[in-house]
Symmetry: C2
Subunit: 564 residues, 2 copies
């Protein structure tokens, strides 16, 4: 490609609103251009990068056995009604009506659509499993969209959906996809961490985000120094340190206290530490069932873990009246007498002789011991991690930040039980809902993240696999000899199957070299009167400081080696 005829050249002045490095560089170098906030044109250079990224994702998905297809962009709203998502989803759905009055959602995610097309077929256990994926435009009616390709209202996503006879079979595909994703991000120069996350559905074991660590990321999580374990706050597993298990259990006693309702106030009146208290929090489920969460006083209840443990979609704190209806009083709730379902945190096993309210205003019970004085219906992990929490192996968890570029997760039978006849025929001739998984990669976001990670103060430094061209060829000077030699080399490289961006403009050397650095093709070749005298070119790798002189005769071979 001759740069003189490329549409979308480098741009000097860009808006002061542009804060993110990737946003600024992609704009300045002529890869993208904004239409309206959060909606971008991919210019020819940007399109080439996007196509390379798409081709890599496609190659790896195909290698993993997935099958590419595509759904319409407009989804019949009836399908979203079936899954109760037409009015509430985790993102802002856009909807539209056609002239016949039919309602459609602009595709945000495609679970309903793929289930709908699969159920149109008479699927038997012999057809399972399969994994279908698409690259399709997705829409989110975000109130704020800033940061270039990192947070947009319209974007290309690779979304895949796998269909299985049961969870056992799903797990194999989950592992297959985890490996596939690692390979994909490796190939495009992104070092990702697999972060355990919450999938919003019951059960949290199979849900991971692929995150590239970065200060500008919106994904926050906890991670060990060696990166062997990483998880979001809501799902992180951490060790509960034993506190005073060697201390003998003392007899309980009710004492009068004058205190406020916090654990801090309890510490003040009892002259002890937060871990020496029991925190009891009454919740109401979406079925209006009261649930008492019981946890060591220095820890906080993690409502997401609690929901998963009890198997419901929504919980809320009980009101004062609801607390009193259980024969107790706010600030003095205890697990001792109350007659509701109790869920205890693992931390209850780590301390003796704890303080709790006495279900009566102004009175506490002290020396309370789990198992001896009260039991719970379910002992589980329902805690938020404290500062400097450690894994079971004793590794300290630190806060991490990064950009989510992909995710994989279990859908189970969530959609296939909500949607009618989303069933296959088993070997025994019974009908059973398909068991599903789902797997996404944000294409534009991955591209922007690659730029966030690979750049310097002069511009982008593309990973070889994503670079719009392989060689940035520059001829310096208006000398005819140089021009002809450049033109000749350009065609020689093209004939050898090498992708070349050839800056054939009559511009100053400084401008052309600065543009080459900004655009960020990994390999630059400069021809000038001086290099021609030695039958050579100046060979400069974008990631290196020094240039070298390479004889023209060795150029093709060396270029091919570079891109091996």
């Amino acid at each position: 490609m001759k740069y003189s005829k490329l549409f979308g050249k480098t741009v000097k002045d860009i808006s002061g609103d542009v804060k993110m490095t990737s946003h600024r560089l992609l704009l300045q170098a002529g890869f993208i251009r904004e239409s309206t906030a959060g909606r971008y044109y991919f210019l020819p250079l940007g399109m080439r990068v996007r196509d390379k990224l798409v081709a890599i994702v496609e190659e790896e998905m195909d290698r993993a056995g997935a099958q590419k297809m595509i759904t319409p962009v407009l989804h019949p709203m009836e399908l979203w009604d079936e899954t109760n998502r037409s009015n509430s989803v985790g993102f802002e759905l856009m909807s539209i009506q056609d002239q016949r009055g039919a309602h459609f959602a602009l595709g945000g995610t495609a679970e309903e659509m793929v289930v709908d097309v699969v159920r149109k077929f008479n699927i038997s256990y012999k057809d399972l499993p399969f994994n279908i994926y698409q690259f399709s435009q997705k829409f989110r009616d975000e109130l704020r969209a800033r940061g270039g390709l990192l947070r947009v209202r319209e974007f290309l996503m690779k979304d895949a959906y796998s269909f299985h006879a049961d969870e056992e079979d799903f797990k194999k595909e989950y592992e297959n996809m985890a490996q596939t994703y690692t390979r994909i991000f490796d190939r495009i120069g992104l070092d990702t961490v697999m972060i355990e996350s919450d999938n919003g559905y019951i059960g949290g074991e199979y849900c991971h985000e692929f995150v590239v660590e970065s200060k500008i990321g919106e994904s926050r999580y906890l991670i060990t120094e060696d990166k062997s374990y990483a998880a979001h706050e809501e799902v992180v597993e951490f060790a509960r340190q034993d506190k005073n298990l060697d201390e003998a259990m003392k007899p309980t006693e009710i004492v009068a206290v004058e205190r406020g309702n916090s654990i801090q106030e309890g510490c003040r009146v009892h002259q002890n530490e937060a871990w020496q208290h029991i925190k009891s929090v009454l919740y109401m489920t979406d079925q209006n069932e009261p649930i008492l969460a019981v946890i060591r006083g220095d820890l906080a209840v993690n409502e997401i873990k609690l929901k998963h443990v009890i198997g419901c979609y929504e919980i809320r704190l009980a009101t004062e009246a609801e607390v009193e209806a259980q024969g107790t009083v706010i600030g003095y709730v205890s697990p001792l007498k109350i007659q509701v379902k109790k869920v205890g945190d693992l931390s209850l096993q780590t301390a003796h002789n704890l303080c709790t309210g006495a279900d009566e205003f102004g009175k506490d019970t002290i020396n309370v011991n789990y198992k001896r004085d009260f039991e719970v219906d379910l002992l589980a992990d329902i805690a938020m991690p404290p500062e400097a929490a450690q894994t079971k192996e004793g590794k300290t968890l630190k806060e991490g930040k990064g950009v989510e570029v992909g995710n994989i997760f279990q859908l189970g039978t969530h959609y296939t039980t909500l949607m009618k006849e989303a069933e296959f025929t088993t070997a025994e001739g019974k009908r059973k809902p398909y068991y599903m998984g789902c797997y996404g990669i944000g294409i534009g976001r991955s591209m922007a993240t690659a730029v966030e990670i690979h750049n310097d103060d002069r511009g982008i430094i593309w990973p070889k696999s994503l670079s719009p061209y392989q060689v940035h060829l520059v001829g310096l000077g208006k000398n005819d000899e140089v021009k002809n030699a450049s033109e000749e080399l350009y065609h020689k490289l093209l004939e050898a199957g090498i992708e070349v961006l050839y800056d054939d403009r009559n511009k100053q050397a400084g401008t052309k070299l600065a543009d080459a650095d900004l655009i960020g093709i990994p390999l630059r070749m400069v021809l000038s009167k001086r290099t021609l005298e030695n039958d050579s070119v100046e060979w400069k790798e974008r990631s290196k400081v020094e240039a070298e002189t390479v004889p023209l005769a060795q150029l093709l071979e060396k270029t091919k080696q570079f891109y091996l």
Copy 2:
């Protein structure tokens, strides 16, 4: 790909509404599936065909020097307001509002979007020309959508837009695109005719549809037997036969007549033929200017040609009052005295001694001769073709019907004068609107048309370039030896880089062979106990009746030859 795990297998029963061959075959063979009317899923088989088609179009567009990019799907409505298209376009525009109240059009065509992105850059004559194209989803809010992929509400289109300094430069790209389109349709097995059409803009010289002749097509046109010339009715050029030019001109005479207002009535009272009359029709332009169209009585005025000739967007017939305001009367209008702009058809030169009204009720003038008795401001082609019209070369024009799979046309400066600052800097430092052309190909429609053309009563017969796989491999019988040999051959073919659909199901031979015919891969290989005894396979080309026996040892070579 193993057929047992392919998502989207053949389907027996389909709706009775399915009338078109391509619709029925693509559905039955598992290439597409309807979501709602006019919106289709491309299943994995269909996706492979679509991808091959897209790759061919892309390869040829790139070879022609065009640059791929992409615009957002949602177009800011302000842009469509700039060109007055937000309320009236040649198709039904869908629009949507986001939660911030911004209005968008769902992309129907992208002229405004590409002009908008181009004008964001500081374009000079040095940057021109360029041609940018995209594959993007297009939306049309059609009231009726039937016929599978031939008439849809949502579809993938390749749309290209070229930018030039002037018309001269545009013409070169037009020719380049015409050749490119011919090559593309050739490669995908479509024999197209380039039909001259009306582009809706001023000037009709550069506007062609690429049409595949077919009874089911919606595009109607006139074409010579040898297909050397084809054009839509509105733009077709045809010869005006000389009638009686050897007859001496007689003196004009006003005669009293008792007749109705038609040419037929004139023939009755004057006892002659329609061509012996002059037809004079008064129109009003969108600028409220009266225009008199004058034509030989056996021909009809073509309003589209007339509009282009006088250079206006809309015309309408004058009312009775408007006719009378010109001092004449309906049924007796003549070109003799009227004081308005006159546009004459070429046919006026072909006959002598014609009859016309005398601008007075009940009176005609006879023996009227063009040039001697009246002149026109403009003599041009403004006629509809009569039955059995002939070209200037004397070739008879017959009516043709076909499917429009692509079009190329001149936009000129239509959009760039309506849109602000859509200008480049000339070598002299002046600002001038870009001169544009535009070029479309319907991807799904081309795919369906290929099926309409290439099929038999057993199913599809894919052109080699579009087939989802290259080989349909079938193992017959439950015999382990056959199964192992089939599996082995499957892997051998894959390793040789051949795309194989391998029917590994435990089904009857009849079912598997019928499915193979329906799916339509050009080459079928059958392994059975019998063929294995001869170390061979049955080789059957989908387009041939007879199968042949090919030794396993020659199979790879022969397959590669077949696909050369």
